[in-house]
């Protein structure tokens, strides 16, 4: 398949060039889990009364939704053959998450510069500056109307200029986006290698007819929770089959 050939060219074989992929995945999933925990704090705005719009609310919900899949993948990272299906689903979710994350990044850049940043710039500097021993840099904000009485060239140089702040913000956003895409490639690379190995194991070990030990337990259980487990198990199997077709 064409996708497989082109993928092989860009998929990293080691994390950061030297580290085994599975350690890279541990770090990537760890960072993803820590990041997605932000959704829990964001959704608390329902209780605190902090105003958020629909898209912010949706972003928090999506973060919480991905959390259990990443945690499950991290826990089962080194457990063969279960990890093949777990990583397959996590890999697909991570890729979708990357795409959605990129779109959200664009939206939130617009959100910050269109509302939050303007809000802070439009405040009355003079009112807040009086009584505080800091200086307002005239280059700093567009709507600067006055500066503090304590303003001196020396003190103003201690604060980053507006241009510098903008540069750092954009540079960091681009760097984080690039790192996110690289992490995604590492994730796909690891999953691809895992699936290849899984196929090989099954080929040479005919005893492995089922997926793993969990299969009997999950399919035999009853109840609402068991239904959820079955649904997720089914998703994992489908993800694995889909990626097997895609990669081979």
């Amino acid at each position: 398949m064409a996708l497989s050939t082109s993928l092989n060219r860009i998929l990293p074989q080691r994390f950061m060039g030297v580290i085994p992929l599975f350690i890279g995945i541990e770090i990537i999933l760890g960072i993803a889990i820590l990041n997605k925990a932000g959704g829990i704090y964001g959704i608390l705005s329902i209780f605190t009364g902090h105003p958020i719009n629909f898209w912010q609310w949706l972003y928090n919900v999506l973060s919480i939704f991905t959390l259990p899949f990443y945690i499950s993948a991290l826990i089962n990272l080194k457990t063969r053959p279960k990890n093949a299906r777990k990583m397959s689903l996590a890999s697909i979710i991570y890729t979708i998450d990357t795409i959605i994350g990129l779109l959200y990044t664009i939206y939130f850049i617009y959100f910050w510069f269109s509302s939050e940043d303007v809000k802070s710039n439009s405040l009355d500097y003079a009112k807040r500056a009086v009584g505080n021993d800091y200086a307002a840099d005239q280059d700093y904000g567009l709507p600067v109307t006055t500066t503090s009485k304590t303003t001196t060239p020396d003190l103003s140089s201690q604060s980053a200029s507006l241009v510098r702040e903008l540069y750092v913000t954009f540079a960091t956003t681009i760097a984080i986006t690039a790192i996110r895409i690289y992490f995604n490639l590492v994730f796909v690379s690891f999953t691809k290698a895992l699936l290849k190995q899984d196929l090989s194991d099954r080929k040479y070990n005919e005893r492995l007819t089922g997926d793993d030990d969990d299969e009997v337990e999950i399919l035999g259980a009853t109840g609402i929770l068991a239904g959820v487990h079955r649904f997720i198990y089914d998703l994992e199997r489908r993800s694995k089959d889909y990626l097997n077709v895609l990669f081979n």
Binding site: T105, Y134, L155, Q197
Partner: protein, 514 residues
């Protein structure tokens, strides 16, 4: 002398010692010195070791990096050289005396971090980079959709203030010491060195980032609304100011107003320290991982609620901890054996062999989740066996009663009887016994007499490992000889190994040379 003797014999001293002896020291294998501490005070020993030490590149980087930061602090700190030189000399002396060096050498990253942190305010202003006030709130909104600190600090009540103060203002400062004590008592020997390394480096790298990228915290936005900052400004206790008002005295206001790093919002070392504690606690006590992570998320909430950090700062600190912990785990940390009770139960130290746990490796050995869980399930199985099988060894155990209820003589008798077989090995032995007597597994019958005979044959030496920074596996540049003397694994260990290898493939690279 008489008073000292009386104090030492008093019940207040004797009782804790007896309990400690009963629960911990009795675990020690008679021929093992692995868990022993150094009590030598002869400086010439350290100097000779230093002279004969073969330096690795990682060691040079490690000590070179830390020394250069200490030198920087030494130069910039505004005090007379007549004051600074004696302080530095006494510091060096602590590194030379074997008794103190066993702690000081491994705590060097922590000392370096503390020295840099408390001197950061003395760095000339013209050397410091410009302060960012907008980057963090902008990045927070771009990456997480909102200012989460604002979200959580929208409503403040005295009850929430106290709930936030407990982890941020109290637990945070005591938790590392508690974790260190747990690690010293319950983790394999050399683990505390790894904690010192990881904790110190995480904080050191964090403070360096804070100095090189000075940024304002959420309290600054609330007070000055993202207007330009300068280094003459004072800090703010944020939400902790309300605690001072509540308690009626100045516990935090002055301290935070005169903090050495006022614009050190990113990364959050509160988050970094808490998450590092969580990583080590999960590593040592995986059974309670939900408790440890609850503490981490609790501290995160309190940090944002008190307007001390943006969420991106917390993530920065946590990622720093994750990276440093991962490095430490695969390079320094020994493997925890769930069948072992405490530090003194270990007679050998093993480290992770990456090739054997890499699921993509052809050498991979399937272990459910991790070795701790495997050991844990094994331990549960052992417990079940001992519960239902009438194993003779257990019947011979004379005293399950603690020595507190016995006379000193009885306690000594107990010590003699249990010295040969520590408690952490009892369950595995019963399992072995059961198997050897009647199971389908043909394990070699291995009894105490055999153990004693094999002691000499199985004398094992943990060799120096020069493959890392070696504040973990190899104690330090001053402790090579000591490490070479570390003996491990008499025949009692062999039993454990039999027990383990009967069900668990050898997934570790044990540092020993038979």
């Amino acid at each position: 002398m008489g008073i000292t003797s009386t104090i030492l014999r008093s019940r207040i001293i004797q009782k804790p010692y007896q309990l400690f002896h009963y629960y911990f020291l009795l675990e020690k294998s008679p021929n093992s010195t692995l868990s022993d501490l150094q009590f030598d005070t002869n400086i010439s020993i350290s100097i000779n070791k230093f002279k004969n030490h073969t330096w690795t590149i990682k060691e040079v980087c490690h000590y070179g990096f830390l020394s250069s930061i200490i030198l920087f602090v030494f130069i910039i700190f505004p005090a007379s050289f007549l004051t600074k030189i004696p302080i530095l000399a006494s510091f060096i002396l602590c590194f030379l005396i074997p008794l103190t060096s066993q702690f000081f050498v491994h705590a060097l990253p922590i000392f370096t971090w503390l020295a840099l942190f408390f001197s950061a305010g003395k760095i000339p202003t013209e050397w410091k980079p410009a302060i960012s006030v907008k980057v963090l709130p902008a990045m927070e909104t771009i990456l997480y959709g909102d200012n989460l600190s604002n979200v959580l600090a929208t409503i403040t009540t005295p009850l929430l203030d106290i709930l936030a103060w407990l982890p941020y203002g109290i637990l945070h400062f005591s938790a590392p010491f508690v974790v260190a004590i747990f690690i010293f008592l319950f983790a394999p020997p050399t683990s505390l060195r790894s904690f010192g390394f990881a904790f110190g480096y995480m904080n050191l790298l964090g403070v360096l980032t804070q100095i090189l990228f000075p940024a304002a915290a959420p309290w600054y936005k609330n007070l000055y609304d993202l207007q330009p900052a300068n280094y003459t400004m004072k800090g703010s206790p944020g939400g902790l100011g309300r605690i001072d008002e509540l308690l009626g005295f100045d516990m935090y206001t002055t301290a935070f107003s005169t903090s050495p790093v006022i614009f050190g919002a990113f990364p959050s070392l509160h988050s970094g320290c808490a998450i590092m504690d969580v990583f080590f606690l999960c590593w040592l006590f995986p059974k309670y991982k939900y408790v440890w992570w609850s503490y981490g998320t609790y501290l995160w909430w309190s940090t944002m609620y008190l307007t001390h950090h943006y969420f991106i700062d917390l993530i920065g600190g946590a990622i720093l901890s994750l990276i440093v912990f991962e490095y430490t785990k695969y390079n320094h940390l020994p493997i925890v054996d769930a069948n072992k009770f405490c530090r003194w139960s270990y007679s050998e130290v093993s480290k992770i062999n990456v090739a054997l746990i890499d699921p993509l490796s052809s050498n991979y050995i399937n272990i459910p989740n991790d070795i701790e869980m495997q050991s844990s399930s094994q331990s549960q199985f052992d417990d079940n066996v001992t519960r239902f099988v009438n194993y003779p060894y257990l019947q011979q155990q004379p005293s399950i009663v603690p020595p507190t209820l016995q006379s000193q003589q009885q306690a000594e008798e107990f010590e003699m009887s249990s010295m040969a077989i520590p408690r952490s090995r009892q369950s595995s032995r019963s399992y072995l016994g059961t198997m050897a007597h009647g199971s389908s597994l043909n394990l070699p019958a291995h009894n105490e007499e055999d153990d004693e005979e094999d002691d000499d044959k199985h004398e094992e030496i943990v060799h120096e490992d020069n493959s890392s920074l070696e504040n973990s596996a190899t104690p330090s540049v001053f402790e090579d000889d000591h490490v070479r003397q570390i003996s491990s694994a008499t025949s009692t260990t062999s039993l454990d190994e039999l027990d383990t290898t009967a069900s668990i493939p050898p997934i570790t690279s044990t540092k020993k040379n038979r």
